[in-house]
Amino acid sequence: MIDRLFGVFLLLLGLFFIWGGASLEVPFSYDPLGPKFFPIAAGGLLSLLSLFVIAKPKKIDFPEFSTLVKTGLIILLLVIYQFTFNVLGFLIATAILVFFMSRIFKGTSKQALGSAIGVSVSVYLIFGILLDVPLPHGVILNFLLGVS
C-alpha cells in the first residue's frame, strides 16, 4: 500500500517537473536544446517508471507503531533545532537536541544529561574555539555576556 502511495507521489513529482520544465520562460538560448529539455526528460522518465511501481506494488514491512512515533519525534526535534539554533544559540539548542535524542535511543535521564552537556560543550570547544567556525551564541548568552 505504502509502496503504491509513494508511487503516486513519484508520479505527481514527475508531472510537476514536466509542467515546470515546459513552462520555463527562456529569453534566449545558445544551444538548440535549451534548459527546458532536461527537466522534462527527468520528469517524463520518473512519471513513466512510477506507473510500474503503482501497477505492481511490493509488500513493505514497516516497523511497529512505537518506532514510527520515535521517527516522527526525531524529525520534529531536528526541525525545532533548525528554528532555535540562532535564538537559543548553539550550546543550548544542541544540548536540548542531544538530550531528547539520547532519551529516544534508550539512554537514562542521567546518561542523556551527560551526553547533552558533553557533546554540546566539546563540539563548541573544537569547532567554535579551536577551528573558528562562527557558531551563534544565541540571545540569552549574548544578553548575559552583555554583547548586543
Binding site: 527537466p39 521517527t71 533545532y81 546518561q111 557533546v119
Partner: protein, 501 residues
C-alpha cells in the same frame, strides 16, 4: 617509466607531516566508521567532508583524508561482522557468513588477523592496478568529446540500474530523483532559474554537502531506530591476534582471485563493495568449496569477500579519476568533493592536477600499510569502541554533521533542507530504492546535461552525433550488453540451484 616518477612525486606529497597525519587519521576514523554497525564509508565521508571544507584544507589533503576513510571503512567493516554477526556496512555482509562461525569456534583473533591480511593484499593489488591502469585509461579518454561523454553517462546509469539493488525500475527512479535534485537552481548557460521557488538560498541549487548529510546522516539515524546497538551483544573472547603463514598460504589463491574480481567490479561504474564481495564469495564457493565447509567457518570464505571489498574500493577510484564517472556511491561523494573545490573531474585531471592525483594514489599505499599495522595492536580498542551505546553515538553523529552543514555558509536554511532530504531518503530506503543511483544522478546531473546540450549545439540539433565514431558505438554496445548481465546471472544461479538438488 613515467608512472614511477610521478608516483615518486606523489610520495613526496604524502610524506609532508600534515598529509601523513591525515592518512593516519583517515585510517583510524575509517576503521571506526566501518566497524560501527549502521555507519559505513559513505556516512563517514558525508560527516567529515563538511568539516574538511570548513577547515580550509587544501584539496589534496582533504581527498587523502576522505579516501582514507573510504578504504579504511572497508577494512573496519569486518570487525563487527566477525565478532557480532552484524555487518558494519553493506560490503561486509558476506564476511559474516564465515567470519562469525569462526569466532564462535574460538578463532575470533585469527579470523580478524587473516581478514586483515586479506584486506591488505586486496587493497594493495587494487592500488597497483589503479597506478598503472588509470593513466592509460586517462590518455584514452582525452579523445572524448561532449557526445562521447553523454553516452558514457548513459552507460554509467545503465550499469547502476542493472546491477544495483534487486529492481531496475527502482534504481532508475533513484537516478531520476537525483537528476531532479541536481536540476534545481540557476541554469549555467542561460541563467534561467529552475525550480528554486523564489527561495534565494536555492538559486545556486541544493548545496552538495546538505544533500549528502541529509541522505547519509539524517536518514541513517532515522533507520538506526530499528537497528540494535551492539552494547547488548556478548563479545566473543579474542585469544591470539595473529595468523600463521600456513593459514595465509591456504587462502592464497582465493585472496588473489578475489582481489582481481574486486578490482574489476570496482572499475565498473556504479557497482560497489557489496556486489564485489557477493561475486567473489559465490565464485570461490563454486571453485574451491569441495567439502561444503563454506558458511561453517571456512578461512577461505572469510578471505574472499574481505579481499574483494577492499580491492573494490581501489578499483572504484579508476573511473572516478580518469573519466569523472564514479565507480560507487562513496566515490560519487568524493567526486562531489572535487567539484566543491572547483576542480573539474574528467580525463584532464591527470594532466591538470598531478599533485592531487598522484598524492592520492601514493597515500593509498601508505594508508594500506598503516591500516594493517594499526589493526593488529588496536583490535581490542576497536572492539571496545564498537560497544559505544547508541544514546551517545547517534546524537554525536547528527550534531557533527549539522555543524558541518551549518558552517559552510552559516545558514540554518541548509539544516532544514538536510532534514527534509533526510526524510525523503528515509522513505526511499524503507521502500527499497537504492541510494547509489540517487547520489550518482545528483552528482553527474550537471555534467550530463552540459554535454548533452553542447553535443547538440555542435551538431546543430542532429541526434546522429551520438552514434558516430567508434567510441560511441562501443559504449552503446556495452550499454546494451549490461542489461543482459542480470538475466545471465539469474540463469546461471537457477541452473546452479538445480544442479545442487
Amino acid at each position: 617509466m613515467e608512472v614511477l616518477t610521478l608516483l615518486g612525486h606523489g610520495f613526496g606529497t604524502v610524506f609532508q607531516p600534515i598529509n601523513l597525519f591525515l592518512v593516519f587519521l583517515g585510517s583510524i576514523l575509517g576503521t571506526l566508521f566501518g566497524a560501527l554497525p549502521g555507519l559505513g564509508p559513505i556516512n563517514g565521508v558525508a560527516i567529515l567532508l563538511p568539516i574538511c571544507y570548513t577547515l580550509g584544507l587544501p584539496v589534496e589533503s582533504s581527498l587523502i583524508l576522505l579516501s582514507g576513510i573510504y578504504y579504511g571503512a572497508e577494512f573496519g567493516g569486518r570487525i563487527s561482522s566477525i565478532l557480532l554477526n552484524v555487518p558494519g556496512d553493506a560490503g561486509a555482509v558476506f564476511t559474516t557468513l564465515d567470519g562469525y562461525p569462526l569466532a564462535q569456534k574460538g578463532l575470533a583473533g585469527p579470523a580478524l588477523a587473516l581478514s586483515g591480511v586479506a584486506s591488505f593484499i586486496g587493497g594493495t593489488i587494487a592500488i597497483v592496478g589503479l597506478t598503472f591502469f588509470a593513466p592509460l585509461l586517462a590518455t584514452f579518454a582525452i579523445d572524448f568529446g561532449p557526445s562521447e561523454y553523454f553516452v558514457l553517462m548513459v552507460f554509467a546509469f545503465a550499469t547502476v540500474s542493472a546491477l544495483m539493488g534487486s529492481n531496475p525500475v527502482k534504481s532508475l527512479v533513484g537516478v531520476a530523483i537525483g537528476w531532479m535534485i541536481g536540476i534545481v537552481g540557476v541554469d549555467s548557460t542561460t541563467g534561467v532559474m529552475r525550480f528554486s521557488f523564489g527561495e534565494a538560498e536555492l538559486y545556486d541549487g541544493f548545496e552538495f554537502l546538505t544533500v549528502i548529510v541529509g541522505f547519509f546522516a539524517v536518514s541513517e539515524i532515522l533507520l538506526m531506530l530499528e537497528h540494535h546497538s551492539s552494547e547488548h551483544f556478548a563479545m566473543p573472547k579474542i585469544t591470539r591476534i595473529y595468523v600463521t603463514f600456513k593459514e595465509i598460504l591456504y587462502c592464497k589463491w582465493t585472496i588473489l582471485r578475489s582481489s582481481v574480481i574486486g578490482f574489476v567490479v570496482g572499475v565498473l561504474p556504479g557497482t560497489g563493495a557489496s556486489i564485489a564481495s557477493a561475486v567473489s564469495y559465490t565464485l570461490e564457493q563454486k571453485l574451491v568449496d569441495k567439502e561444503g565447509t563454506f558458511g561453517t567457518g571456512d578461512m577461505r570464505g572469510l578471505a574472499a569477500p574481505e579481499s574483494a571489498n577492499n580491492a573494490c574500493a581501489g578499483g572504484a577510484l579508476v573511473p572516478m579519476l580518469t573519466l569523472g564517472v564514479p565507480g560507487s556511491a562513496t566515490t560519487a561523494v568524493l567526486l562531489g568533493a572535487l567539484m566543491l573545490y572547483n576542480i573539474n573531474p574528467g580525463p584532464m585531471l591527470f594532466v591538470d592536477q598531478p599533485v592531487l592525483v598522484w598524492g592520492l594514489i601514493a597515500s593509498m599505499y601508505v594508508g594500506n600499510i598503516m591500516l594493517l599495522v594499526i589493526n593488529f595492536p588496536l583490535v581490542r580498542v576497536f572492539t571496545k569502541i564498537l560497544q559505544v551505546p547508541y544514546w551517545l553515538l547517534v546524537p554525536s553523529v547528527i550534531v557533527l554533521a549539522f555543524v558541518g552543514v551549518y558552517s559552510v555558509n552559516s545558514s540554518t536554511f541548509s539544516l532544514g533542507m538536510a532534514t527534509l532530504l533526510g526524510v525523503l531518503g528515509y522513505f526511499l530506503r524503507k521502500l527499497h530504492y537504492p541510494m547509489a543511483p540517487v547520489i550518482l544522478g545528483f552528482v553527474l546531473c550537471e555534467i550530463m546535461e552540459d554535454n548533452l546540450r553542447r553535443a547538440f549545439a555542435m551538431s546543430g540539433g542532429e541526434a546522429d552525433i551520438f552514434f558516430k565514431g567508434s567510441i560511441n558505438i562501443t559504449l552503446w554496445i556495452l550499454t546494451l550488453a549490461i542489461f543482459f548481465v542480470p538475466m545471465i546471472s539469474k540463469f546461471i544461479s537457477k541452473k546452479y540451484a538445480l544442479g545442487k538438488k
